[in-house]
Symmetry: C2
Subunit: 215 residues, 2 copies
Amino acid sequence: MAQKGLLTVVSGFSGAGKGTLMKRLLEKYPESYALSVSATTRRPREGEVDGREYFFVSVEEFERMIREDELIEHARYVSNYYGTPRRYVTEQMEAGRDVLLEIEVQGALLVKEKYPDALLLFVTPPSAQELERRLRGRETETEEVIRRRMRQAVTESKAIDCYDSILVNDDLETCVDEMHALLRSRHYAVERNAEFIRRMRQELAGRQDEQTDPE
Amino acid sequence: MAQKGLLTVVSGFSGAGKGTLMKRLLEKYPESYALSVSATTRRPREGEVDGREYFFVSVEEFERMIREDELIEHARYVSNYYGTPRRYVTEQMEAGRDVLLEIEVQGALLVKEKYPDALLLFVTPPSAQELERRLRGRETETEEVIRRRMRQAVTESKAIDCYDSILVNDDLETCVDEMHALLRSRHYAVERNAEFIRRMRQELAGRQDEQTDPE
């Protein structure tokens, strides 16, 4: 049953482990998934590669992409644009891969408007205590950043009801398996197998005709 | 995230391998699933055990169960009643197990009316040819029975659109894994995790209050 890929939006608290989760999912099932790369007008940081972390484009180019409807969603943070180029998403879905978009709540809702079939997935650690422990564990963040992230989590937690599914990322491998199960399952929906069902009906009716032919 | 169990109705062509599929699923995950046992007024066949294949009851008892709303659904075939006792289903769901009901299309739709959350799952072999091959492979069926089953499959195939999901039972172990993934995934729905989400919000807000307390 070869099918087109489906779109999944992944959001969650900073510190929920979304990045590691998606990286591991892609490592385990490279043929099933593709990770969308965002476009941005901010400058690349050291070590960032164009087309890997982001597509780094000029403000003029980004505004042209908005005008020509080349972005599924976009937003402006501080003085930088961020957005999801439509082309890669469409190409990967046509190739049968489920596309993962890591974006925040506002973007998620915009994607759902344009792609009602998209699954909105929220990833969370098992508790607020564990969230804070992970943020502190990074050891690269200042106290101020940790506090800001925890405040942000309060706001984000209010939006969970807009999502379709929630996964608790306690043990990474378990969560990867759950995410894979969840995303594969959508392909078993009857409406996504219309072609198979049509063929099956035709075959059954065909064998029926053979059997009732006068001998 | 301890949750109540969910209801799954399993239908499919005779010869699709539903019985083997459910048996294997229960063997692999005995803690996750329970198989509903139907009540019937027909006489037990040789080897059938009361409470295992069916609950064998009298017509008077069955009609009492109908009157007192103890059945989720029931139907009459030829001169026998068949039905799904509510009590076992409810008990198992309360214990956190997903309950599987193997019933045909009409019953499936009745269950969906009473339990809108129930998943209606249709199981099919990969082709009509394979369906016939399996029916013939049993070697216990007469030509007449095989032809009747194939005619029945034509009718049943028209009802697939009433179902939520479809699984192709080509390789048994693959199909068991797919079924498990499909049924587990329903537990990740946001609306089924309201209690976890409520607690998470509370914890996050609590930590927030601590941090903003005057020192």
